[in-house]
Each structure stands twice: as C-alpha cells, then as structure tokens.
Amino acid sequence: MLHLALFLIFAVICVAGAVNLLAQKHPIESALSLVVVMGALAGLYMLLGAEFLAAIQVIVYAGAVMVLFVFVIMLLNAGEEEHTRGSKVALLFGVPGMVVGSVLGAWVLIRSNPSAKDVAIGSLYGPAREIGKLLFTTYLLPFEITSVLILIAIMGAVVLARRESQ
C-alpha cells in the first residue's frame, strides 16, 4: 500500500516534470524540469531496490550530465522561445487525444503479455557488491566496450578543444 503510494508520487512527479519540460518557454526551465525527472527516476530505482543505481543516477545524471546541459544553455544564452500562433482547436483535441492514445497503447501492451506480473519491490540488484560482481563477470564485455567509448569521447573533446598551434 505504502509502496503503491510512493510509486504514484514518484511517477506523477516524473510525468509532470516531463510535461513541464515541453510546456516551458525558456530552455533553462526545461532543463531544470529534466533534472526533476531524473530525480524522480532515481526514486523509482530506489523503490525497485536498486539503491546504488539510484544514488549513481543522482550523482552522474542529475548532477553532472544535466549540469552540462545547463552550462550549454547558459553559455549560448538561448533566449525564450517565440510562440507561433498555435491553434486552440488543436490544443483542445490534441491533448486529450494523446492521453487516450497512450492509455490505449499501454492497455494493448499489457494485455498482449498475459504472464506479466507486477514488478516486486526490491527485485533489482541492490548492493554495490552485487553490481560489481555482475559488471566484472557476466557483463564484462559491455563494461570494457563502454570504457573504450568513454575514452573515445574524451579524446574527441580534447581534439575539438585543442588550440591550433600557430
């Protein structure tokens, strides 16, 4: 019961943040809504029992990647969007239509897989110890490839930012 309530709270915050991201006119407020979404996702991971992943989500995604987004928006001085004259009729029919469409899609997906159960609380790997073991045994290849990918990204950043030697 408490878990359902907590799930609903985090899910509502997540969806509200995502909708706010689209509705805001200024890109910085959209970026901050995305930070809220990341935070709500971390809450959902915590509910699933993946506490290490939740903390890493906050540290890396909300605390570093989104800071990068915010930096870029600040430095580029992107101003408020101009609103073109949208159609009120489109808004009147579009928003409820989208809600109905997504509910229909979700219902079809759930019905098409009759053996799917609710995800139990705590069903993901929680402690860092277990995730470490998984990373270095079962998922070793993706781990190494990801590290090579990050190395390529770092080298790309260095090459792009290098001063041309005159």
């Binding site: 890493i56 570093a64 915010v70």
Partner: protein, 350 residues
Amino acid sequence: MPTGNLSVVTFVIVSVIKIVLFLFVLLTGVAYTVWLERKVVGHIQNRWGPTRVGPFGLLQPLADGLKFIFKEDLTPPYVHKFLYVLAPMLSLMTALISISLIPVGGNITIAGITTPIQITDTNISLLIILGVTSIGVYGVALAGWSSNSKYSMLGSLRASAQMISYEVALGLSLIGVLMLTGSFSLRAIVEHQAGGFWHWNVFGGFQFVAFFIYLCAAYAETNRIPFDLPEAETELVAGYHTEYSSMKFAMFFMAEYANMVTVACLASILFLGGYNGPTFSGFLPPILSSLMPVIWFLARVVFFLFVYIWVRGTLPRFRYDQLMAFSWKFLLPLSLANVMITGLVVALRA
C-alpha cells in the same frame, strides 16, 4: 521492522526531535563558525576580530543575523525571477541535507528508548552525500545566470566548473576508505576504525594520500581559500552572489559555512575515526558516557574548522588555470594511484 524495536509513533517523534536538534545545532554552529573565522583570521593578521558585541564578540553572529533580517531585500528588475529566488534555497537545502546522515555518536538510551545519535543511516549514505554535493552545483550556476550580470555570470561559471572538476578527485579519494571498510554506510566506516588511534584510516589504513586529496578537493568544493577565485572581491566584485542582498545573501553565506561543517564532519568520519574515543563508561553514568563520543566528534570537527580557517588566513589564492590544472593534472592521477595501490593491498591481504 524498519523502526528497530520502537513503535512507529515513537520512532516518528524521536526522529522529529533529532531533526530539530541537529538543525538547531548545525545552524548555531554555522553562525559561530563565522565568529571563529573572524577571530582566528583577525589574530593571524595581528588584530583582535570582533570584541565589542558581548564578551569576546560572542554575540556578533546574533547582531549579524538581525542585520540581515532588517536589511532591505532588493530584487533587481532584470533578473530571471524564478531562478533568482530558487538558487539560494537550493544551495542552502543541499548544504543542510547532509547532516541527516552524519553519525555523531553511538547509541543513547533516554527514558527507556534506545536510539542512535544520527538522524538516519542507510547503506548508501556516502553516495547520498556525494549526490547532494553534485546537486549543490545548481545553486551556484543558476544564481550567476539568473542575476543577468557579467560579474555574476563569470563568477558562477568559474565556481561551477571548479566544483564539478574537484568532485571527481573528491569521489575517487573516498574509494580507498570504501575498499578498506566494505560498506557505504557511515556508521560502518566509523565502527571499522574503532579501538585506538592507530586504527584510524589515516594512520592504520595508510590513507594519508587520500586524506590530503580529500582536503584539497573539499576546500575547492566549498570555494574556500586557496580556491576561492569565484568569490574573490578583487577579481569579480562578489562573484555569483553579487546581485543578492539581505536574506538571500545570508542563505548563500550560511550554505558556504554549512558545507564547511559537512566537510569537516565527513573528514573526521572517514579518516580520523569519527566518534571513537574513550567513553569512560566505568566512571560516568550511562547517559554521560553515551555523550562522550559526541564530544570526541565535536573535537575533531572543530579541529578541521580551525584548519580551514588557518589555511584561509595564510595562503594566497590560486589563479584559475592553476586551479584547474591542479585538479585534472595532479589530484586526479594521484587519487587513481591511491585507488590502485589500496585495491592491490586489500586484494593481496584477503
């Protein structure tokens, strides 16, 4: 039962009391850290510091608080209002959250209720503190941008770039301690160092390199001298809080000192043995002997605050490129080397 052996209602009441007590002590500590800084820096510079308001100037923080409350709260017309108001709140919130995870003492039994002297302990406490530090960067970045002024913008960009660079070294320096302890829980880290000062992580765990890196990275995270270029008055007027007045400025100010206190608490927990120390349980009644660890913890925290202030009064500040080079070219490789060597020792010992 997640509430231990207490009923839910008792647990909630005890937790609320602890939260109020911790926040009160933290905020008073922040105010008197400002007093301590003014006195110590004053004496380093061969002058007295505050002496007039109360004995030894001890009521000076009260006078400062009243001043901030009565000052005119000015909101310049060209700022981005929502973020301008949000930024100091974000800074102060993230500065105050970390105190909820810090173990100040062992268990204490009052009126038959046994509870740890800590608001809460989770098995990812250290990661939560790192996460909260990462969110604190937003307070600084948004303050500068929303103020819509050159000095603020530059100051906040420098401050946030500095903070995210030193977060890497900070996180890596903690890994050595984590490998020795095997848990992210702060209470487990403190209890791993029980039994005399040779067990502390800085001596017995040989984490003195990590200790040095942690202190440097923490000084940079809290924007203190020698890393306080973002706030340097001679450089940037006042950096990211140029356009703030009265209560909002006071919130940034409190957030900076609360961050200092958090860093001091963490350094004493991770490297100096936390609240371990003789409890004199043979001589003292049980309540007093459960409070002895609190006194040992406070002694360490005050020591770190004193070192912070001592460094502030002594060293000149880094230039910005020296600051960034120090983080990426010196602290990062050093902390990686520390992680590798500690990992090797732990693996060979097991």
